[in-house]
């Protein structure tokens, strides 16, 4: 109980003697351990020499002779720095344009009056119901027509508008009292100035919540970049990684795969660890749980 007691040091006095919060903490610790196991395994497998053979592969016990051979293999098989740059360009490019489009669209749906506003909004939301696979061929045809086949811009293009983001911003903007905007209007602020100085700063938690969702989903996207990209030097991380994970009739080199996976998720993981508090608070305040 001492460990839990230590965790409870900061708990409000009234709850310190109750059993429920302690159980809650215990459960959280347990869940965290379960969640950690795959990461531990990945770390151990990465450092385990291939000579240990597949027999020990399932074990969580680290090898006594850790080696970086797997990391070196993975690094040599895939051009990881290039994949990193490509994925970063894709994710940040999409996010930048999305910020503009969802702010403007969200504002239009929240505050402007125009004919057919509600039906158009529902049409917009319907996009969320479509499975992305369904849109591969039409999207690819449009991308090719724009001359963007086999380009990173082509990978980004279909995501420049986001139904989810628009919905999220509409909800956030609607929660902002109109009095604030009225005051700015009296001061002579233009439409864009009102959005910039009132709506955007007050909705920052929603923006960061959306940024997290957008970046993680595009960071992990495999099928669409696979469709658009042909040139090996334009591959994002997911496609690059799958070169040595996807197998049809063959088998897998687990150590190399673990090392490659670690390299792919490391940037996201590190970012999360650094900004952990902000991530969580932005989700809490934006109402997404």
């Amino acid at each position: 109980m001492t460990f839990i007691d230590r965790l409870l040091k900061n708990a409000p006095l009234a709850t310190r003697r109750e059993i429920t919060p302690k159980l809650g903490f215990a459960l959280t610790v347990l869940l965290a351990l379960v969640w950690l196991i795959p990461f531990l395994w990945m770390g151990v497998a990465t450092l385990r020499p291939a000579s240990d053979g597949i027999n020990l592969m399932a074990e969580l016990m680290p090898s006594l002779r850790p080696t970086l051979d797997n990391v070196r293999d993975a690094w040599e098989i895939g051009d990881f720095p290039r994949y990193f740059i490509n994925t970063t360009i894709i994710c940040s490019g999409i996010l930048l344009v999305q910020f503009v489009t969802i702010t403007l669209a969200g504002f239009a749906f929240a505050r402007l009056d125009f004919a057919g506003k509600t039906p158009i909004f529902y049409l917009f939301l319907m996009q969320l119901m479509l499975v992305p696979v369904l849109l591969i061929v039409p999207n690819l045809r449009i991308v090719a027509q724009f001359g963007l086949y086999d380009t990173l811009t082509g990978v980004m293009m279909p995501f420049f508008a986001s139904a989810f983001g628009t919905f999220l911003m509409r909800q956030a903007f609607e929660a902002i009292p109109t009095e604030l905007e009225d005051a700015a209007l009296i001061d002579g602020a233009s439409l864009l100035q009102r959005i910039r100085h009132i709506y955007v700063p007050l909705s920052l938690p929603s923006f960061s919540a959306f940024a997290i969702i957008s970046v993680t989903s595009h960071w992990n996207d495999f099928l669409w970049p696979l469709m658009v990209i042909n040139s090996p030097d334009k591959r994002p991380l997911t496609v690059g990684l799958s070169v040595f994970t996807a197998t049809a009739e063959g088998t897998q080199a687990w150590g190399t795969i673990a090392a490659g996976t670690l390299m792919v998720i490391a940037p996201l993981l590190i970012t999360f660890l650094i900004f952990q508090k902000r991530f969580i608070s932005s989700f809490v305040t934006s109402g997404i749980k």
Partner: protein
């Protein structure tokens, strides 16, 4: 207006980036072609593919081929189709051999007859280079649509050390299902209710599951589909019911096969780790087993219930429809080079797939290799009883209609008969449009 300025800067940067990336490679000189390839083996072979293509480019200064990795066999089909529909067909694709029929029905393939004729050879002579069992998946309506590149048959892998331990003779592998069941029972070890060693493992994941069902059905005397016509599959038949019942019995009655649908890599991993004493797997895994097994192993024919028969697997090289003439020509040069005896022999040694070109087995390197690794001969010997891989209109959905049901059976959620009835119903529905246009369109 800080936001706007930043925004403009961002947009300007994005624009520059887009501009820089969108510049098409306009160059006089070599014909640039893409070869789409799935990776059927581990990442080292993706690198080997790079080596192969570099060698081709060095020897053909007028062509610049790029190897484009395209995921699994199923992903490769999706990407190829999407690229064709977007007007950007690749020049050549290493395509799962059983997708050719569906692509031909959809007019997505180049008929290779003219290219063969332009070389001055006859169709018969060209096809004569390859093992006869492979021709069924390459020839449609008497025209050539694919060139076999790497092929496989399922094999029975046996841990010889464990067999000896259990008092079985690994040099006399089981030849019938009855013997195999008996072996599996003797090779399963239990501690109380817990199984510490499974007798046999058979993979069942998308793609693999359908292939194993065809394997078992064929060795039970049956057929998976109508080889002459792409609109019929035979899921609800006695031969397939017998096959699925036997598989189900291994899992739920004899308890010598782990329950649930196991993917291929998990099967090979559990064989290598000694967790499963036997497995049915593609010859494509042979190199992996040879490199990783710390015990003596044997490979054998797939045992029969009624007859010895197996389907082929693997991939053929195809040229999609809608290519410019110069790219088509360059692709043909590449395909002929890749399927030559030397190159296909090299690829076979690297992967474990067998070389489809019969002359590959007469090359000195290959003769040497087979002397050192006699286990690589089994798949080739088994070709005598091999037949085409199932291929129908909409092969993938029709295959999944069956696979989804088989997985339910292995998970203990359905009985074989009701699963096959459901699979047949679903497949008939998927095949309906094609049948309406062909066999049911009456004059």
């Amino acid at each position: 207006m800080l936001f706007s300025r930043r925004l403009m800067l961002g947009l300007a940067m994005a624009g520059t980036m887009a501009g820089a990336l969108a510049v098409p490679a306009m160059a006089e000189g070599p014909t640039e072609i893409d070869l789409f390839f799935p990776v059927p083996v581990d990442g080292k072979l993706a690198r080997d593919m790079g080596t192969l293509i570099k060698e081709f480019n060095d020897g053909h200064p007028d062509i610049k081929a790029t190897a484009v990795y395209t995921g699994s066999y199923d992903d490769t089909l999706i990407k190829t189709r999407a690229a064709i529909k977007a007007g950007k067909p690749p020049a050549a694709v290493i395509m799962s051999a059983n997708f050719l029929l569906d692509m031909q029905i959809e007019n997505e393939l180049t008929n290779l007859d003219n290219l063969i004729a332009a070389d001055g050879g006859s169709k018969e002579k060209f096809l004569g280079q390859f093992f006869p069992a492979l021709q069924g998946n390459a020839v449609i309506n008497r025209s050539v649509y694919g060139v076999p590149f790497h092929n496989s048959t399922p094999l029975l892998y046996i841990n010889a050390d464990k067999a000896k331990e259990a008092g079985l003779d690994p040099n006399k592998p089981p030849q019938t299902w009855a013997e195999l069941t008996d072996w599996a029972k003797k090779l399963t070890k239990r501690e109380g209710d817990k199984v510490t060693q499974w007798g046999i493992a058979i993979p069942c994941a998308y793609d693999y599951c359908g292939w194993m069902m065809e394997t078992l059905t064929m060795s039970n005397g049956g057929r998976y589909y109508n080889e002459e016509f792409g609109g019929e599959v035979y899921y609800d038949t006695p031969s397939m019911l017998g096959a699925l019942t036997w598989w189900n019995d291994l899992v739920h009655k004899h308890k010598v096969h782990a329950p649930g649908a196991t993917p291929g890599p998990a099967v090979s991993t559990s064989f290598i780790s000694g967790n499963a004493a036997m497995m049915m797997l593609s010859t494509g895994s042979l190199t992996y087993v040879r490199d990783n097994a710390k015990f003596n192993y044997k490979v054998a024919f797939i045992p029969r219930n009624v007859r010895n028969a197996v389907p082929i697997g693997g991939a053929s090289l195809i040229i999609p429809a809608g290519l410019e003439a110069d790219k088509q020509k360059a692709a043909w040069t590449l395909i002929k080079w890749m399927t030559s005896p030397e190159k296909s022999a090299w690829w076979s040694r690297a992967t474990g797939y067998f070389a489809p070109n019969m002359a590959a087995y007469k090359t000195p390197d290959m003769i040497d290799f087979l002397n050192k690794n006699p286990d690589a001969k089994t798949a080739v010997e088994q070709l005598d009883v091999a037949k085409p891989w199932f291929a129908t209109y909409k092969t993938v959905p029709v295959r999944k209609n069956l696979e989804d049901e088989v997985m339910l059976v292995l998970n203990g959620k359905k009985q074989p008969k009701e699963a096959l009835v459901a699979a047949q119903k679903a497949a008939d529905e998927t095949l309906k449009p094609y049948n309406a246009e062909t066999s049911l369109r009456l004059p």
